[in-house]
């Protein structure tokens, strides 16, 4: 990867450090807009779910889950639908801009998990969960990161498709059919949200573990002192 790097000389000590431009502007913009809209979509989604916290038809049926109102957004079903139907456009637009940019700029190579990344996943997993040494990499993202980000993007696409299937089960009846019907589409939509939340949880843990410079790179694009070899 031809990444932009910079040698930075400290004005006081004269010490030289490296910085790498990891995240192009469009990626950073989409990341933060998406973080906000995902938060709104999940919060309002829980409020919508509260109206019928079950799956399938309405045959006198037990509620599966009493989701606390405090962890939901919108106040009532109608309010939550307003949030959901407003932010879904922002969520979809962000996704389209992001995917379009990645493909057009070629930057997708940084993120996309491909076959040759497969052997590298296990050593990283071993490092995090079994405290093995951290494998060296020359790329911005290690294979596990690529796997996680590629999966998250895939989940994003699926969340939109399953959402469309339950919002428009007549106009997009073929979508609902592909998902095994209206009832299953609603269940998929719900499960995909949990998978997305699992990603967000892991993502946040990793952000905390990797410190300030790493976090700042998603704001400014530049990562000082990257742990990988950028030469």
């Amino acid at each position: 990867m031809a990444t932009r790097t910079m040698a930075i000389e400290d004005v006081k000590t004269g010490e030289v450090t490296q910085a790498v431009y990891e995240h192009p502007f469009v990626v950073r913009l989409c990341h933060w807009v998406n973080a906000v809209s995902l938060f709104v979509m999940v919060g309002s989604g829980f409020q919508i779910f509260r109206a019928f916290p079950s799956f399938g038809a309405k045959i006198p049926q037990k509620d599966l889950l009493d989701w606390p109102k405090a962890l939901a957004l919108g106040g009532w079903l109608g309010g939550a639908l307003q949030w959901h139907l407003t932010f879904m456009w922002i969520y979809i637009a962000t996704g389209l801009v992001y995917i379009g940019y990645q493909l057009f700029s070629g930057n997708y190579k940084q993120v996309l998990f491909v076959r040759r990344d497969v052997p590298g996943v296990w050593p990283i997993v071993r490092h995090y969960f079994l405290l093995g040494h951290k494998p060296q990499t020359k790329e911005t993202y290690n294979p596990l990161q690529k796997h996680a980000y590629t999966s998250a993007i895939g989940l994003g696409v699926l969340s939109v498709l399953t959402g469309l299937a339950i919002w428009k089960p007549v106009q997009f009846s073929w979508l609902a059919w592909m998902m095994g019907g209206f009832h299953l589409a609603r269940l998929w939509h719900f499960l995909i949200m949990w998978a997305m939340l699992a990603f967000v949880f892991g993502h946040l843990v990793m952000v905390v573990l990797h410190g300030w410079n790493n976090f700042v790179s998603m704001l400014t694009g530049w990562k000082e002192d990257p742990e990988y070899d950028s030469e």
Partner: protein, 240 residues
């Protein structure tokens, strides 16, 4: 690409890159109470606009085999107010007004004569998230509108109900071949809980648009009253 700079200049570069993200802060407008309501209203209106574009007049809602029907006993009864507004069936008529050539009061027998009875097994989807498959019988709303000489250029059909509920339909949906003035469910005359003697059955719309206990029908060019739930904040179009 490799360049060299000093830490002061790098700080300036970083700050500039950070400032480029200020558009994200615009989303904070949704957190300001005075702006939140109009913004969400705008978002909902945009969704309705897009929904109307997605609606296809010739596209039919899925229909189902009798074996897939939810039993009549398990078909949920949802009201905003009462299960039985106490309609006097002997005196009941449908009052038709607005842009029609033959306004007036129509008896159930006259409505039933508008066209041969249509029965269909369609999915009834509630905004809450549940759904059931029911058997509905009635006349095509489009046939009835033809019978009363409705202005084909009118934009809306609005209804009022014995329980003071009210609703509106866009003309494209009203003219859809599966949109019914429904007087039967499961081969029996409508029961009081299900909206006797006449209700809407619109398989391309969400449940709350399918008004029960209909007493008045108006064909109009201008939207005067959208609907009971719409006035509480629900989507105006809500096509499925």
């Amino acid at each position: 690409m490799k360049s060299r700079t000093d830490s002061r200049k790098f700080k300036a570069i970083s700050r500039r890159e950070l400032l480029k993200l200020t558009p994200v802060v615009a989303l904070g407008a949704f957190a300001i109470p005075q702006l939140q309501k109009p913004l969400l209203k705008g978002g909902l209106a945009f969704s309705d606009w897009a929904s109307a574009r997605l609606f296809r007049s010739g596209h039919l809602a899925p229909t189902f085999a009798d074996a897939d029907l939810t039993s009549f006993e398990k078909f949920p009864i949802n009201d905003y107010d009462t299960d039985d507004p106490g309609v006097d069936f002997d005196k009941w008529t449908l009052t038709v007004t607005g842009s029609v050539q033959k306004p007036g009061d129509y008896t159930l027998a006259q409505i039933q004569a508008a066209s041969p009875k249509v029965t269909q097994n369609t999915r009834h989807v509630c905004v809450e998230g549940w759904d059931v498959i029911g058997n509905f019988g009635g006349v095509r709303l489009s046939d009835f509108l033809k019978m009363v000489g409705a202005d084909p250029t009118a934009r809306l059909v609005t209804v009022e109900c014995a329980d003071d509920y009210y609703e509106s339909l866009d003309m494209a949906t009203a003219m859809h071949p599966q949109s019914l003035l429904c007087y039967e469910m499961y081969g029996q005359p409508l029961t009081r809980e299900h909206g006797a003697p006449l209700r809407l059955s619109i398989p391309t719309k969400i449940g709350y648009k399918q008004a029960k206990y209909v007493t008045d029908l108006k064909v109009s060019h201008v939207l005067e009253k959208v609907g009971y739930w719409e006035d509480q904040g629900y989507s105006e179009f809500y096509g499925l």
